[in-house]
Every structure is written in structure tokens, then in C-alpha cells.
């Protein structure tokens, strides 16, 4: 008797199932790709109309942004400046504190503390951004005004601080993961040379975790650039080029939100301008994400 008689072959049902699973999963993947392509298409398509009227160089290097009133100016630099002022301001606070939280949770926190710290950070990540914006206007700005009375009602510093709080969980969680991923053998090697704990952490572990730490910084920067609601509420709508964090500015996202919610007619130059700004924003975050991937590859160390 040959064994073939005791084993049924692969059934038609099994073959059908394998093919169907593959198709279904491919369809899921396809949705994300198509969405991305669709968004890029719309951004580019509307921007093309915009750039037919406003020269690209005037847009990218222009220093005056007055799209809604005559005489119109479409120089995007004030918006870029507002975005960068707020984002970089946020990072100044968020990077050291986020990394500090990660070092603490990964290396020092023990028992009860360690168990509550991470969930609290996750709650922070779950708060809607409009709540953060409100918090900025009603609490942070008055606080800033007590420190520095010249602070305007809408100001970049308030937006920076609230965004710093918003991106803390991202930074802390990614840094925490990358610190924990450093193998114990490396720490053992350092301790065996008579090193103390802080020397091991700051001189051996953190440099080895550099790729993850840098990636978290860039991701946080991306998020800060893209954040809309809190920035719109806290920083206001005054497009201007300034390094003073205590005055109102307008971020790129705030402008888009402002125009989208207003009654600007489709097809007008004002309407198209939000796509040009959106495209610019998209290119900036895309560049950040590519940079982050490059850094992860460049600095990643192989541990077995």
C-alpha cells in the first residue's frame, strides 16, 4: 500500500482560502497606498493652479503673507517661521524632559512608581488636542503673563509649552524602548570595569541607543509641525516673521484651519493657497520622516 491512499491531497477549499487571504490582505495594504497617492494628487493638482498665478519663488521666499485682503501677498515665510518658532520652542522643553523621563523609567524607577508612570504618560497621549489648546489659553498664557506681563493673549510660547507636553509621551516611550533594547551584556561590560550607574547609563547605554533617541526627536518634531488645534487656539492668527515667543504668530496648520473653516469660495486663489501651504507642510514632514529613517539606519548598531 502506498501512503498516498491514506493522505487526502490539498483540498480546493484550502487553495481557495490561501488565495483569498492573500487578496484580502493585499486589499488592506492597497487602501493605505491609494489614500496616500490620492492626497498627494489633490495637493499637487490644486497647488499647480495656485503656482500658475503665484511664482514658486515668490511663495517660498516671500516675507509677507496677506492672502485674504488686497493687496494680496503670498510669501509663505511668516507661516514657516511661526511653525518653526513654535515647534523648535516645544522641542527645547520636550527633548531633555522626554529623554529624562525615559532614562528614569528604563533605568531608575522601581516597583510601584514604574507601574504608574507609563500609564500616566499614555493618558497624556490620549488627551484630545483641542483640550490642550484650551488649557494653553486658560492656564499657560495667564501664567506666562504673570512672569512676563508683555505677553500677548495669543503667543508662540504658550503653544510651544503645550506642544511640548503633547509630544512628551512620544519621546519618552520611544527612548524608553531603545534604552531597554541595549543588551545587558553591554552594561555588564561597563560595570565590570568599575563604572558607576550614571557613568554606565550616560556614557555607554545612551550613546548605543542614539539611533532610537534621534528618531524619537525627529518624530516629535514632525508631530509638532503638524499639530493644528492647540496651535491655532494658543498662538493666534498673526502671520509675522519674529523670534519673539511672547507675541502672536500664525503656523502653517493654523492658516489652513482658518481658511478651511471660513467662507472662501472654491477655485479662488485663497482657496488654492491652502493646498500650496499643505504641500509645503507635507514636504517638510516627509523630509523629517526620511531623515529619521536615514538616522536609524546610519546609527543603528547590530547586537545579536
Amino acid at each position: 500500500m502506498s501512503s498516498s491512499q491514506r493522505w487526502a491531497g490539498v483540498s480546493a477549499w484550502q487553495q481557495w482560502r490561501e488565495r483569498t487571504v492573500l487578496r484580502a490582505l493585499f486589499f488592506c495594504a492597497l487602501i493605505s497606498v491609494l489614500t496616500t497617492l490620492g492626497i498627494i494628487y489633490i495637493l499637487v493638482n490644486e497647488s499647480v493652479h495656485f503656482f500658475a498665478e503665484v511664482p514658486v519663488l515668490d511663495f517660498v521666499f516671500g516675507t509677507e503673507w496677506a492672502p485674504l485682503f488686497e493687496p494680496r501677498h503670498f510669501g509663505v515665510l511668516p507661516l514657516v517661521c511661526g511653525t518653526l518658532l513654535i515647534s523648535l520652542g516645544a522641542l527645547v522643553f520636550a527633548l531633555p524632559i522626554g529623554l529624562g523621563i525615559a532614562v528614569y523609567t528604563a533605568e531608575y524607577a522601581q516597583g510601584w512608581w514604574q507601574k504608574v508612570l507609563k500609564p500616566i504618560l499614555e493618558i497624556l497621549a490620549g488627551i484630545p488636542s483641542v483640550v490642550y489648546g484650551y488649557f494653553a489659553i486658560t492656564k499657560i498664557t495667564p501664567f506666562l503673563q504673570t512672569l512676563y506681563p508683555e505677553t500677548e493673549v495669543f503667543n508662540a510660547a504658550s503653544a510651544s509649552l503645550v506642544i511640548a507636553i503633547m509630544v512628551l509621551p512620544t519621546i519618552a516611550s520611544i527612548c524608553d524602548d531603545s534604552i531597554r533594547a541595549i543588551p545587558k551584556t553591554l552594561r555588564d561590560g561597563a560595570y565590570a570595569l568599575g563604572a558607576r550607574k550614571s557613568e554606565v547609563i550616560f556614557q555607554i547605554v545612551l550613546p548605543s541607543a542614539l539611533s532610537g533617541i534621534l528618531a524619537s526627536f525627529i518624530l516629535a518634531f514632525s508631530r509638532a509641525i503638524g499639530e493644528t488645534m492647540a496651535v491655532t487656539l494658543a498662538a493666534g492668527a498673526t502671520p509675522q516673521i519674529t523670534a519673539n515667543p511672547f507675541v502672536g504668530v500664525q503656523a502653517m496648520t493654523s492658516y489652513i484651519a482658518q481658511v478651511s473653516m471660513g467662507d472662501v469660495a472654491h477655485g479662488t486663489i485663497e482657496y488654492q493657497s491652502i493646498f500650496a501651504v499643505g504641500l509645503m507642510l507635507f514636504l517638510m514632514t516627509l523630509a523629517m520622516n526620511l531623515l529619521s529613517q536615514f538616522i536609524v539606519k546610519r546609527f543603528a548598531r547590530k547586537y545579536e
Partner: protein
Amino acid sequence: MIHTHGSSILETRNLNIYYGQKKVVRNVSLRIPKRTVTALIGPSGCGKSTLLRTFNRMNDFIDSFHYEGEVLFEGSDIYRSRTDVTEFRRRVGMVFQKPNPFTCSIAKNISWGPRINGYQGDLDELVERCLRKAALWDEVKDKLNDSGLALSGGQQQRLCIARAIAMDPEVILMDEPCSALDPQSTLAIEDLIHELRENYTILIVTHNMQQAARVSEHTAFMYNGDLIEYDQTSKIFSQPTEKLTRDYIVGRFG
């Protein structure tokens, strides 16, 4: 018999080690003479690595670790002495199972330990001297600023030995230093151990009995937490007293 001329450098007295409830080393009393190579052999889980890591208190990082008895280094109890633990670790260096160079240059791998511990001398000179002692100088002298991780496994392990030597320790603990290496690199490390025995006391845990026979003067055989036999390596391998030792040596188990 092990003749300890004068004082032994490392000693355990009635040492019991526990991980939580589990007793992993039972009542071990052992004297390691100065400037010798001592091999710790025995099947997996017999407690030899745990015993080795006790000598520079690397078990401190394991929460459930506790012990009874005494562990002496140069006559003073390393767990009860008031001397800082980092001081003992400086004088009792360690080389690990897998090469673990730091994420920095070859030179900095070696100079880091001395620098944080307040070494006063010339670091460049120290780097060269240690790399020469570890028989690595000729291979890396032109790329001292390259990453230590760019070296081959065998070179990385010699870098780790050079790094340990840089602290000017009296003892070097080696925890299966060749288990992740190819035969060629293993040979290089064994040659190095032969060189180093003149200046250092070396304790080596190994699964490889030929290696124990080749590199050590004394061998301690452990089984299930007990120290079964401890004697001249030649005696252990030619005419062991205990039947258990003989069975292990000839490969009947383990």
C-alpha cells in the same frame, strides 16, 4: 592538593548562593593561588558561572540573589568590606561569553574604564600597551578610531581582554570567553591566556574540557552546585579521585 604559596588571592569559605529559594552553589570552599590559571568546569547549570560572577559581585544586579558564607579577595570580604564595590571590580576584571565592545572607537573602548576611574597616566600609551598585551596591536594600530564593533568576533574578544587589562587588575575572570568564537580565534585567545598568566590570576569558566586541559594549571569540577573536585589540572584529567569527575571528563554526561 593545591599548594597556595603564601596567601591565596581569592577564596570562598562555606559559600552558599541562592536565587530566591533555589540553591545554586552549595557550601563551596575554594582557594585560588596568585598568578595561576584556574579552570571551572562542569555541566550547564552546575553553578560555575554564578560562582565566577560572585568574585566581582556581578550577581548584585540579580534581585533574587543572596548568599551565605564568605568571599575573600586579598583576605578581605568583598561583600562586607567598607570598600566601594567599584574598587573591587577595578581590581577583578572580567571578560564575558559574548564579546561586548562599547559603541565607540577601539581606543576609547580601552581608555574609558581608566578615564572614569581617574587614571593619571598617558591614555594613548595605555591604549597601545594594552592592545600589545592582548596581541591585537598589529591588527588595529592603523584604525584606532574605528568602531570597536567593526572588528571580527575574535578581535572583539581580544579588545575586551585589552579593555580588562587596562584597569591593571590583579584577577581576570573569563566566562566562557571562546564559546562564541571560531577555532582560529579560540586558539589566539588561548595563546593570550598563556601570556597573561605571568602577570595575572586568571579564572576561566569553560565548557570545553580540552581547553581547560590546555590553558589551566588547576581545575575545579562542579556538579549541581557542589564543588566535587579541585586539584592540579593534570591530576584531574589523568587520575581524578571522584567517579563523577571521571565520568564527566570522559564525556559520559554533561
